[in-house]
C-alpha cells in the first residue's frame, strides 16, 4: 500500500507526513510526529487516553485515521501550555493532585478543556458525565473532578 502525503496543522503549526491509510491519528501523532503526550490505553475508543481535538471537536485519536487529518487542525496536550505558562487546568491538576501515575492525564486535560469551553461552570454531575469516556484507574476520579472545578473557578466561570 502506498503512503499518502498528509498536510495538517498540529497545535497551530503546519506539519507534513507520509502515512499508510491504516495508521490511526494516534499512531501518526506518536510515531510520525513524535508527539507522544497523547497516549494509547485501549485502541478502541473506550479509555480516552488518546483524547485530542480534531477540527474543533473532542475525539479519540485511535478512532480517527491519520489520513483524515489532511487539511484539518489537530490540538494535543503538547499545545496546552503557552509561553506564558501552564493552562489553568494543568495548574489545577498539579495543585489538586488530579493525577497519580499520569498516563490518563493528557486525555483528561484535553477533555476537560473542551468541557470548560462549552460549559464554563459545570456541576459535579456534568463534569462526571463529560469525562465518562476517560478512564482513570488510580485516582477514583475524586481529585480529577476537584481539579476541573478549581480550573473552572480560576478561569472565571464560577
Amino acid at each position: 500500500m502506498s503512503k499518502v502525503h498528509v498536510t495538517t496543522t498540529v497545535n497551530g503549526e503546519e506539519k507534513e507526513f507520509l502515512a499508510e491509510p491504516r495508521q490511526s491519528l494516534l499512531e501518526v501523532l506518536r510515531d510520525e510526529l513524535h508527539l507522544t503526550g497523547t497516549k494509547e490505553g485501549c485502541n478502541d475508543g473506550n479509555c480516552g487516553a488518546c483524547s485530542v481535538v480534531f477540527d474543533g471537536t473532542l475525539v479519540c485519536a485511535c478512532c480517527v485515521l491519520g489520513v483524515e487529518a489532511n487539511g484539518k487542525r489537530v490540538e494535543t496536550v503538547e499545545g496546552m501550555a503557552t509561553r506564558e505558562g501552564l493552562h489553568p487546568l494543568q495548574q489545577a491538576f498539579l495543585e489538586e493532585t488530579g493525577m497519580q501515575c499520569g498516563i490518563c492525564t493528557p486525555g483528561f486535560l484535553m477533555a476537560s478543556n473542551e468541557l470548560l469551553k462549552s460549559n464554563p461552570n459545570p456541576s459535579e454531575q456534568e463534569i462526571r458525565f463529560w469525562l465518562a469516556n476517560n478512564l482513570c484507574r488510580c485516582t477514583g476520579y475524586d481529585k480529577i473532578v476537584k481539579s476541573v472545578q478549581k480550573a473552572a473557578a480560576v478561569m472565571g466561570g464560577a
Binding site: M1, E20, P21, L58, C63, A132
Partner: protein, 289 residues
C-alpha cells in the same frame, strides 16, 4: 490492521461509482467508531475505505415543518448541540447522547449506527419508534425504506453492496405526541445496551386516550425489533397503569433474547417489560405537556 486504499469522494455520484466498481470490497467510512474498531479486530477487511465526510450532502441536516432530514454522516454531537433538534426530537437525543462518551459522539453518526446494524444500536429503536424512513442510493437512483426494514441480521442490512445510505427522515411530531428512548446498562455510561426500548405515542386531545403507539426493542434479538403488536394494542385504550402494563407484557413477548456475557434471557425479558413501561410513561407525559 490490514492494508487498504483510502478515498475521499466529494459527491454522492462519485461515491456510488466507487461502490459500483468495488462492491463488497468497499466500505463507507462515516465516523469510523464501528468500522475502524471492526477492522482493527480483523472482523472487517475492506480493500477500499470510502470516506463519506467529503460529501457535503451527507453532512447536512434540515429541521423543518415536515420533520428532520439527517444526512447519513451527521454526528451525534451535531444533533444534541442544536437546540431545535433537542426540543423537537427528545427520543432521538436520548439515543445519540449515550453512544459512547463525548469524544465518541463527536465522530459517531446516526447513519453509521443504522448501517452497522447491531442489535444494540441505540438510535435504531428510537428511529423505528419515531417512524423514520431511510433513503438509500445506488447506481439506479434513490429508494426509500422504513428504518425497521433496514437491519436483517447482526451487521447485515438491506443495502445492496453498491448502495449507500443517503439520509434519514424523521417525520415532524404531531400534536399530542411524545416519545422516549431508554436503555439498561450496568454502568452509567460507556456500555452496550443489555436491553433497550424506544416508544412513541399519540394521545387524544385531552391526553387521556392512546390514539396510536409505536414500540421498538433493542438487544433482544438478532436485529432491533419493531414490536408492532405491542404498540397497536394501545390504540383506543385509556392511559392507565393497566394499559401500559399490557403493552409492556406484549413487548416482552415480542423479545427473543439470548444469553450472552452482557445479560441473560430472563433479565432481558424483565428489562424489556420495565423499560417499555418507563418509556411509555415518559412519552405520555411528554405528549401531555
Amino acid at each position: 490492521m490490514h492494508s487498504f486504499e483510502f478515498s475521499t469522494p466529494t459527491s454522492v455520484s462519485e461515491a456510488v461509482a466507487m461502490l459500483a466498481e468495488q462492491g463488497a470490497n468497499a466500505r463507507i467510512l462515516a465516523g469510523g467508531t464501528d468500522l475502524l474498531i471492526g477492522m482493527r479486530a480483523g472482523r472487517l477487511q475492506p480493500g477500499l475505505v470510502v470516506d463519506a465526510k467529503g460529501i457535503p450532502e451527507l453532512l447536512e441536516y434540515q429541521l423543518g415543518s415536515d420533520g428532520l432530514r439527517l444526512g447519513a454522516a451527521v454526528t451525534c454531537r451535531t444533533l444534541y448541540d442544536d437546540p431545535g433538534v433537542v426540543e423537537g426530537y427528545p427520543a432521538l437525543i436520548e439515543a445519540v447522547s449515550i453512544i459512547g462518551g463525548i469524544p465518541t459522539q463527536g465522530r459517531a453518526t446516526v447513519g453509521g449506527n443504522l448501517c452497522n446494524a447491531a442489535p444494540s444500536g441505540d438510535t435504531i429503536p428510537a428511529l423505528i419508534a419515531l417512524g423514520a424512513v431511510a433513503t438509500l442510493i445506488g447506481p439506479d437512483g434513490p429508494r426509500q425504506l422504513p428504518v425497521e426494514a433496514i437491519c436483517l441480521a447482526p451487521g447485515r442490512t438491506a443495502l445492496a453492496a453498491n448502495e449507500l445510505l443517503l439520509s434519514i427522515h424523521i417525520p415532524a411530531p404531531v400534536a399530542n405526541s411524545g416519545a422516549c428512548y431508554q436503555r439498561f446498562i450496568p454502568r452509567n455510561e460507556m456500555d452496550i445496551a443489555v436491553a433497550s426500548v424506544g416508544s412513541s405515542v399519540v394521545l387524544s386531545a385531552d391526553g387521556g386516550t392512546f390514539e396510536s403507539a409505536r414500540i421498538a426493542l433493542g438487544s433482544v434479538g438478532p436485529t432491533p425489533i419493531f414490536a408492532q403488536a405491542a404498540g397497536a394494542l394501545l390504540a383506543g385504550q385509556p392511559v392507565s397503569d393497566a394499559s401500559l402494563q399490557q403493552a409492556a407484557d406484549a413487548a416482552e413477548a415480542a423479545a427473543t433474547p439470548i444469553n450472552d456475557m452482557r445479560g441473560t434471557i430472563e433479565q432481558r425479558k424483565q428489562l424489556i417489560n420495565v423499560l417499555t413501561r418507563r418509556t411509555l410513561r415518559e412519552a405520555v407525559s411528554r405528549a401531555q405537556a
